[in-house]
Amino acid sequence: MSENDGQRFDRLPATAAEREVDGRATREEVVDWWADRFGISPETFDDHTFWEKGAGKIWIFAGDAPSPITIEGLGMTFLRTRQEHWKPTTDAVQRFGRLATKNVFELTDEQAERFVDGQDQEIPYDGDWGYVIAAHELAGEREPIGVGLYVYGELKSTVPKGRQRSV
């Protein structure tokens, strides 16, 4: 096993059998995580490749590129791995979260406004603790806003400072 080089993009191995870099997530683990956590089917990502740059930061790219590749960005940051609880990014949840069938918090207008403003709020919920998708209704559809952390009866907003807004 070799060490992760945080300065370049490496395509994730398809499965654990092909893993060459210690601790690196596999494509199979990544798509299974989205299926287990949010019910998003692995086929959703058939046209995408997954890459690691930086320790544990997984990027999703439409199509393919030579691996490794040393450039500034490749697709969208997608998932934080190499930690006990993997964490999806706000941007990934906004892009793919419409397909989620579980661990989705449907917020009222007022709750949604507080959430996107970065505020934590106490909301009763009987689902799993951990990272959830916060959503609300917009133009007649359920639309994902971002990632919440649900613990001890409280929905913590993890909307990054640069994405927080006062609606």
Binding site: H48, P66, L138, I145
Partner: protein
């Protein structure tokens, strides 16, 4: 406005031009079709009580009656991107298709790059390059907010853009591009309605200096485009030194030609002469948009085809 005096003889109704340059610009957004339809955006603006009007020349451009479109739900979800109307011209003219390999040579902060990704329906590869490392974070932020996953971001001087990082195993260089956008750094005269201080520091020396950079960028863009591929050259300035003169320079040195295109905005043809210089007559196929013609900013756009 004094630098604009030199355009008195080339702009029709010069007084109306100057008057328009003094007015502030209407706020506009572009619908990000990767995430929403114009109908969804309009319904969301209705729910928020924000007035709007769809532009008649472009199905995805909406003029909005708010000074802070960024604090509305359509923006938070990446359904829309605040973008001046004329800034959507070059992406519309380049019109990349899903599966294309596309380069945006001067991409930060990403308004046009994200429009290209939307035109491609996020399929194919968009290389978004900028030489300014500090502005790459804005480029990446906008790409991610708008849900783009087909973008590869590079940090090169566009005059020396390299295909090497994309070389497959055993190859020396990566593939050439089907389409390239050169939305060049410029003297920004056409942004005067958005930035009233746009002309501070204006001088003919400054214009000449930028024109040298523009020529280098456009030549390199032609070189990395496949035979039969297309390149769009655009600026947000009126200075012929940065527009027709750049085209004239590149037409003489690279194997390419200017091509016609449609634009449903009122505009003028490119200038075939400026002061004592005559340009290649092909430059008339470029289009100049002046602020008083459509109540927008000013813009210049040309479409080139790389010869087979």
């Amino acid at each position: 406005m004094e630098p604009f005096e030199r355009y008195r003889d080339v702009v029709d109704d010069f007084e109306a031009f100057i008057d328009a340059c003094r007015r502030s610009l209407p706020m506009a957004v572009r619908v990000n079709t990767l995430k929403a339809t114009p109908e969804q955006v309009e319904r969301a603006f209705d729910e928020a009580g924000v007035g709007y009007e769809r532009a008649d020349w472009h199905p995805h451009v909406v003029r909005v009656e708010t000074d802070t479109p960024g604090a509305t739900w359509p923006s938070i979800h990446g359904w829309v991107h605040g973008q001046e109307e004329v800034s959507t011209i070059p992406g519309t003219v380049l019109a990349p298709e899903p599966g294309d390999r596309v380069l945006d040579a001067c991409a930060a902060p990403g308004s046009k790059a994200t429009q290209l990704a939307a035109e491609m329906d996020d399929a194919g590869t968009l290389v978004a390059n900028d030489n300014n490392l500090g502005r790459l974070s804005a480029l990446r932020f906008n790409c991610e907010r708008l849900g783009v996953t087909n973008v590869a971001v590079t940090n090169r001087d566009a005059r020396n853009f390299s295909l090497k990082p994309f070389a497959a195993g055993g190859e020396h260089e990566g593939p050439q591009f089907d389409r390239v956008l050169v939305d060049a750094p410029c003297s920004c005269e056409g942004t005067i309605r958005k930035n009233p201080d746009a002309l501070d520091g204006w001088s003919e020396d400054h214009v000449a200096g930028i024109a040298g950079v523009q020529k280098g960028i456009l030549r390199r863009a032609i070189q990395v485009t496949r035979d039969g591929g297309q390149v769009v050259y655009s600026t947000c300035t009126f200075a012929p030194e940065e527009n027709e003169a750049v085209l004239d320079h590149v037409l003489e040195r690279e194997d390419c030609r200017l091509v016609d295109y449609d634009l449903a905005l009122e505009h003028d043809d490119g200038l075939t002469e400026w002061r004592d210089t005559e340009f290649d007559p092909q430059v008339a196929k470029a289009k100049r948009v002046y602020p008083h013609q459509n109540d927008t900013g000013g813009f210049f756009t040309a479409k080139l085809e790389v010869s087979a």
